[in-house]
Amino acid sequence: MRGQPSLCDVLTPRSLDEALSLRAACPEARPLAGGTDLMVPFAAGRLPDRLFLNLWGLEELRGITVSEDEVTLGALTLFREVAAHPLLQREFPNLVRSAKVTGALAIQSRGSLGGNIANGSPAADTPPSLLAYGADLELSSLRGARWVPYAGFHTGYKCSLLASDELITRIRLSRSREGGFHYFRKVGTRQAQAIAKVSLAAWGRVAGGRLQELRLALGSVAPMPIRATGTEGILLGQPVTELPFEAAHQALQADISPIDDLRSSARFRRRVAGNLLLEMLRGLGPA
C-alpha cells in the first residue's frame, strides 16, 4: 500500500448535528461513508486528502421510510439494503437491479447510495436509475436543509451543487409508478464487479397509446451521469406503434459525449448506447 495512514486523521461525529458542525468548521475534511470508492485511491496514494469526516456511524443517515406518496432513503442506505427491500423491488426495480450490479456482495454491504452520488463517478451504477425515477436529494448544512432535483446535481466531472459545508442526507423518490414501464441495462465486461462501459435506465408511462412520460438516463457516456433530455423530447407524446426510432437514435448521439478510456472507446459506447435505446423502445411497441 502506497497510501499514508500515518499522515491522516479522521473526525468521527456522534450525531448529524455534530457532523454538520465539523463540516462547516473543517471543509477540508473529506466526507467518508462506506469507503468502497475512496479507499481505492487512498491506498494507492492517489488521494490528496489528509483529513476525513467519518459518517459511517451516523444512524440519522440510515433507514428507508415509506409514506403513501414517497420513499425516502437515508444517504447511508446500503446497496444490500436497497436490493433486499420488497417495496423497492416492486416499485423501483431499476434501482434494485442497479444496486445488485454494483460490485458484488462485499461491496454492496458497505457501499451507499449517498456515497455513490457524492463520489460523482460518471460510471456509477445507481445514479442513472435515480435520474430515471426523478429522485430529489436533501442537502443539509448548519444553514438548514434544501431539497434539489437530482437531475442537475452533477454539474461536471466530479463537480456538483454540494456546497463545502453540506452533506447529502436523504434521497426521495416519488411513488405512483402504476402502469409505468422500467428498463435498466448495464453493459460491462461481466455482471459482477465490472465498471460499466455504458448503462441506461428509463422509466416512462404509456397512456392512450402514446408515450406520455419518459425519463431516460445514462452512465459512462458523459462527464457525469446524465438525463438524455433531447431524446426524451423527440419521443414524448409519440404513439408507441410509430415511435421515431431513427430521430431518437440521432438525438441520443447528441445527448451523450463519451470518451475513449481504459475500459472502452467512444465509438463502442455510442453504438451500445444507441442499441440499448432501441432495445428499450422495441419493448414498448406492440408485442
Binding site: G3, C8, M39, A43, A44, G103, L105, I107
Partner: protein, 157 residues
C-alpha cells in the same frame, strides 16, 4: 508529522483483541500486521478480488476497503475462526472436491462461502456463483469451488 493512533478494540474470532493503529490504516493491514492473522490475503487491494474477505458484524466485506476507525468495537471473523476442533463442513468440502489449487483465493472463498451458507443463500449453482461473484480464482475455473459450496449447502461431503 504523524497523526495520533487510536486504541482499536475488536472481538476477533470470539476473542477480545486490541491494537494501537492509525485511524486510516486498512482493516486488512490491521488484521495481518497488528493482529498477526495472515490467513486473510491481499490480492488486488481495491475491492475487486475478494482475497481479503472477512465477516464484520455479520456482513461480508473486503478488508482492504475499510479504515480501522470504522471497526471500533466490531466483531470480526477471519478464516482462522472458521474451524473449531475440526474443520468446518465447508472446509471439509473444499478438501473433498479439490476446491483449492494455489490456495491464495481460498481464505476469501471460505469466508465468503461460510457467509453465504449462514445467510442460507446457497440454493443452486446459479445462487452459489452469484454469491461468490466478488471472489476471483485464477486456477480452478471455479467449478470445484462451486461444487464444494453446493455440497456444504446440502450437508453432504
Amino acid at each position: 508529522m504523524s497523526s495520533p493512533k487510536i486504541l482499536l478494540k475488536l472481538t476477533v474470532n470470539g476473542e477480545s483483541r486490541q491494537a494501537l493503529v492509525h485511524p486510516m490504516a486498512r482493516l486488512l493491514d490491521v488484521i495481518r500486521e497488528d493482529l498477526g492473522l495472515t490467513g486473510t490475503k491481499e490480492g488486488c487491494g481495491e475491492g475487486e478480488c475478494g482475497a481479503c474477505s472477512v465477516i464484520l458484524d455479520g456482513s461480508l466485506v473486503n478488508a482492504c476497503l475499510i479504515p480501522a476507525i470504522q471497526v471500533q468495537g466490531a466483531s470480526l471473523r477471519t478464516v482462522e475462526g472458521l474451524a473449531g476442533t475440526d474443520l468446518s463442513p465447508l472446509q471439509e468440502a473444499f478438501l473433498h472436491h479439490g476446491g483449492a489449487q494455489c490456495g491464495f483465493c481460498t481464505p476469501g472463498m471460505l469466508v465468503a462461502g461460510t457467509h453465504l451458507l449462514e445467510m442460507e443463500a446457497v440454493h443452486d449453482e446459479a445462487g452459489a456463483r452469484e454469491g461468490l461473484a466478488g471472489n476471483l480464482c485464477r486456477c480452478t475455473g471455479y467449478v470445484k469451488i462451486v461444487d464444494a459450496l453446493l455440497a456444504a449447502g446440502e450437508g453432504r461431503p
